[in-house]
Amino acid sequence: MTYRYLLGLFDDEVPTLQAVKKLRERGYKIHDVLSPFPIHGLDPALGIKETRLHTMGFIFGATGLSFGLLAMSYITSFDWPNNFGGKPNFPLPAFIPITFEMTVLFTAVGMVIVYYLRNKLSIFRNPEILEPRTTDDRFAIVFDLQKYGSDADGIADVLRNLGAVEVKVREMHEKQPSHDEQSA
């Protein structure tokens, strides 16, 4: 099966952002926006929900903190208590550096794993690219022609009026998930 997408290519982030706002005001459903760098203010303009990555970060951090502290407490107080110069077997201040490091390690590694999973990024993945120039100097507003197929010419005109330097249709073998299908 082939999937058809309409791309409005812009050469700058300012008209792209304005076009997104105007298209949304006029009730169009934008499939996605591709850009060579993050466009500030795009998320609210496009109606993208905030990412929940930071919540995951907190959960991983709390896990790391508890794991570090509990593991060290178990080891030095119960499993193999040793007498280091008469010091207590539960020396909390001495545990702080490692507890801190474990918190940071768990948060960072956990979040990065979630980030790669959610973005579907992996070394074995070689997805179809809608427009190679969007990693260089083009900003693309993408429309799904499965939805807007009958109105393709109309949307192309609107995009041109909003400042698109080029409008083109791309046929893809892979379905390109829209921005809300890519979930939080």
């Binding site: 952002l17 591709l34 850009s35 795009l42 930071h54 080891i75 030095t76 001495a94 973005n119 990693t135």
Partner: protein, 504 residues
Amino acid sequence: MANQYFSPVRDPLILGNKTYAQITDDIAKHAETRPTGKFLLAFTFTSLIALMGVLSILYTIWKGIGVWGENKTVGWAWDITNFVWWVGIGHAGTLISAILLLFRQRWRTGVNRAAEAMTIFAVICAGIFPVIHMGRVWDAFFIFPYPNSRAGEGLPGLRSLWTNFNSPLLWDVFAISTYFTVSLLFWYTGLLPDLATIRDRTKGLQNKIYSALCFGWKGTAKQWQRFESISLILAGLSTPLVLSVHSVVSFDFATSVIPGWHTTIFPPYFVAGAIFSGFAMVLTLMLVAREVMDLKQYITLNHIESMNKVILLTGSIVGVAYLTELFMSWYSGNIYEQWCFNRNRIADPYIFGPLMGVEPAPYWWAYWSMMSCNVISPQIFWSKSMRRNITVTFIMSIFINIGMWFERFVIIVTSTHRDYIPSSWLYYTPTWVEAAIFIGTIGIFMTLFLLFSKYFPVVAIAEVKSILKSSGDQYLAKQAQEDQTERDLQGGGSFAPAFQRDKE
């Protein structure tokens, strides 16, 4: 950053009226073309030095630590000096990426990628030293706590022999390995969009390699949202992490009871010193890179000046720390502390020795090299023309690298070579093996850096593009002109924006 306010008095950070496409071309072209003769020559040279280091390491492992010059009194010498030095150099990478990201410093975008890579390579070099210093390298895995069969009944979880969680040396293991992991993740996650840029420009085998390396990055709105979120959080995590790592490294000394090591000022003093030496190394590398790789329009004199300001600040902090140490040793009233600092370190044979009426300290030359390289010479950067002078900056960056190496050497060796019993006093001299390993790690570092700068984008393409509108010279000039017109209409006076002063 279209909707952000930016001040017209800011200096431009991207010169040459660049467009987005030109930025991509300028930075990605190095990865796409064949290596030049110069590159191959430099690569051969550095990898030969690296090979010498590797062979010397193997020789040490084969023969034992006896091939080093360490003795009963000086049990730690060049190895730990080099370890602390390399870890310190790594710190500027995280600092530029993380702290300057949190502070919204736009000048970081020109240098952050190279600095992050430098962190990774420096930490690799650092890690070599404690491991080979253990002697029995094949047992090195035991620094990691895991349920093992090394004691008692030997069943996992039952009577395992554990590491000592009270020891700062073990804290080091955790700190350095966490630091390395987080830096690596931060660096590579930031690289993905730029690797995708190269993927989309190349064909054939190159395309296949970069397709794998960029993990299928597309640059959708959602991906960028998550990218910004994770960058910010990793930066927020790295900032306390980088401060903790060098504090923990300093605990190796500060928690001991040896005069010269037992110093409570060590954590902040080590962190400042690490930033100081790290920035010096970034400058050394970037000054070469901008010449060789034609990056003068991305790493401008403004970038160099900003880094020199950081060097001036941290160099002065380090200077204050040295003087505080001296004062505290005197004020403590402890004769061993007083002796260690005032006689054993600073008593040189020409001025201070005779003034104090004492015989010269054996390592006076190391102490005074440290003082002149780290405290006295960076003061030249109070002058703006010096901060913006490439030659002076390059010489100073080398001076600081040397000075910071001496700082660690002074702390470690001068505190131990004369202990409480004069009969065991020994002068420490390194052997050729130690020297070859140290020079070898510089070779390893340089080789890795050369490979990185050839095959990866050495300047963060996406990030530089994102500041083009606010920091590109053509946009700033336009903005300044508009402001002037507005001022003229309102009948105001003329106003020359700062950035028109010195364009390179």
